[in-house]
Symmetry: C2
Subunit: 350 residues, 2 copies
């Protein structure tokens, strides 16, 4: 094992503090600072890192808001001329460009740990926030030694390392994250003309589409500014698809064509363990809305040896029951449905 | 209790067969027919209704594909001059208009039982498909007696009856269902330029937004044609919101504004039991991907008396663990997290 680098983290929000807790608990020497005194104090008090002393960091992790990341990266490269500097912002190319112009690009590694949680702030920090999640590394002009140091971080936090070109990363996240956020928010915004009774017709489909529309807007201004071009290109693509439907001579045919296209692409979103999404089958069960009933249901499924691959709960608007859908491997669906019915459950669809 | 009407169902797909099974099991006299011999035979063999004899139906339920529903409704009104005719298509105004022109509108009631399952075909029929789900009634020019008969159906199937104007219904479903389907498919379609490694960056957000993009396209051509105007209006609204972002001088400010709008509207989508959506809190736990571990987790939650309001499972691309998020009432989140950690679970966020 390589010795762990003396590490300094700049920025004590959710990401910086979580990385700090994770590395500290792995025995790394970590210091942490934040422009906000309170955030800095909190981070140090929850074990995210110590107050910096006279030691020279060998690794500096920049975890500031994305809008100021490029500047902080360059400052860090200049302040610690021996240190490797890595940032964790969710847009990579504009920061890489600035780092490159600094003349220190061999010591800079762009990265994007994809926590995927819709929370923020140092209070929510957890050492294993990133565990088992993708951690994108954009090496750019970094030296192999610099990349190795950052790889140590990702390995210590037990992330899946994915190496990508910065521009390819930005184009990808525009399509898998940034523009979908805008689209989900736009679908939600288009509910505005509806009255309360109208909105009550919403089913699970709308709830799924608009779940991320409940996200907090804080980070999005920076992200949108930094990744403007790729976001605009993706929005244009989405709008083009929608326009083909709204302007079609035969809207029925156009809608079918769009849904067919979407089905083809959605099948490429990886499911479990990096494989192509499996074709699970749904077994839907009526579950009384009482503590413990969901456990009973899953116990009964486990008792017949069926692994539940995914699960969705749909609450009924006015009745004390919910519909729970268990997704299982196709070869298990029919036998699970029979076993559950034998066990007294009402299977509403399988 | 009013005596139950002699009932004939036209159309033995998922909806017709499910209604037939449900009413038959409640002791109603139900017959069922379908233009497709095989579907008809299947429906009769699974208890969805008998072969029609010489009896005159007092109620005719039209459960054909939406594109032919208006014509079948008019034929039924003419064939059985004493019967109440109800249809279950997911678009209501165009069918009501045709029924009105037939001169028998006092015997016609439009309805839309919202099963919300993404399945189809008589094979999947279940008598309680609609239980605890909204069943929209559009009375239009129907007599009170006709409405009462249809209300009996909804009550027998234990649905939540919601009375609405046909045009208001169509505008509402365009915004809560039809246009969101198009938007979700468009977001998925916009993944086309991405390579396999790029798509692997997808997180739970994209999976939620695009879940309904995996829907089968069969019914959508009819639906889109029948509800064209409302769908086009909604798509225009969604495109306008997206255009405000892509064309903004400051895309950051525009994105923030759109997300704020979306948050405001998404908060109006009703949650459990018809109340406004509660502010649940998420407790995210790392769960080994093995049969029975999810049950253990929920058992441990139930053991401390916490009701899990909703649940999401997020599989890790390359590791044999998944992240399971439990949504619970805010007052339970902290204590649940502590109890789970005490029980040996790794809580990745609470």
């Amino acid at each position: 094992m390589a010795p762990t680098p003396t590490t300094h983290i700049i920025g004590a929000g959710l990401m910086g503090a979580s990385i700090g807790i994770g590395l500290t608990s792995e025995g790394w020497h970590v210091t942490i600072s934040d422009a906000d005194d309170e955030a800095q104090l909190l981070a140090r008090s929850i074990g995210a890192g110590l107050e910096p002393g006279l030691e020279q960091p060998e690794l500096v992790i920049v975890a500031t808001p994305p809008g100021v990341t490029a500047q902080v990266v360059v400052d860090a490269l200049n302040t610690w001329p021996e240190a490797v500097v890595v940032d964790v912002a969710s847009v990579k190319a504009p920061i890489a460009d600035v780092a490159e112009r600094s003349g220190h690009a061999h010591r800079y590694v762009g990265s994007h740990p994809m926590a995927g949680r819709e929370i923020s702030g140092g209070m929510a920090a957890q050492g294993d926030l990133f565990r088992a999640r993708p951690w994108v590394l954009c090496a750019g002009q970094a030296s192999a030694a610099a990349v190795a140091v950052v790889t140590q971080v990702a390995e210590a936090l037990q992330c899946d390392i994915i190496e990508m070109d910065a521009r390819a990363h930005d184009r990808a996240v525009a399509r898998v994250s940034h523009a979908p956020q805008a689209a989900a928010s736009a679908v939600a915004a288009a509910l505005a003309p509806l009255g309360v009774d109208d909105v009550a017709l919403a089913g699970q489909g709308l709830r799924d589409v608009t779940r991320i529309a409940a996200s907090r807007p804080e980070m999005w201004a920076d992200i949108a500014r930094l990744n403007r071009q790729a976001i605009v290109e993706t929005i244009d693509h989405i709008v083009e698809e929608l326009d083909a439907v709204r302007s079609a001579e035969d809207i029925g045919e156009a809608m079918t064509r769009l849904i067919d296209k979407g089905r083809q692409e959605v099948a490429r979103i990886p499911g479990k363990h990096g494989g192509a999404k499996r074709e699970w089958e749904a077994v839907t069960v009526i579950v009384p809305d009482e503590p413990g009933r969901l456990v009973e249901l899953l116990s009964d499924a486990a008792a017949v040896g069926v692994n539940v691959e995914d699960l969705a709960i749909e609450h009924s608007p006015r009745q004390p029951v919910g519909l729970t859908t268990l997704w299982v491997l196709p070869q298990h669906a029919a036998s699970l449905a029979v076993a559950l019915e034998d066990g007294g459950w009402t299977v509403a669809g399988a």
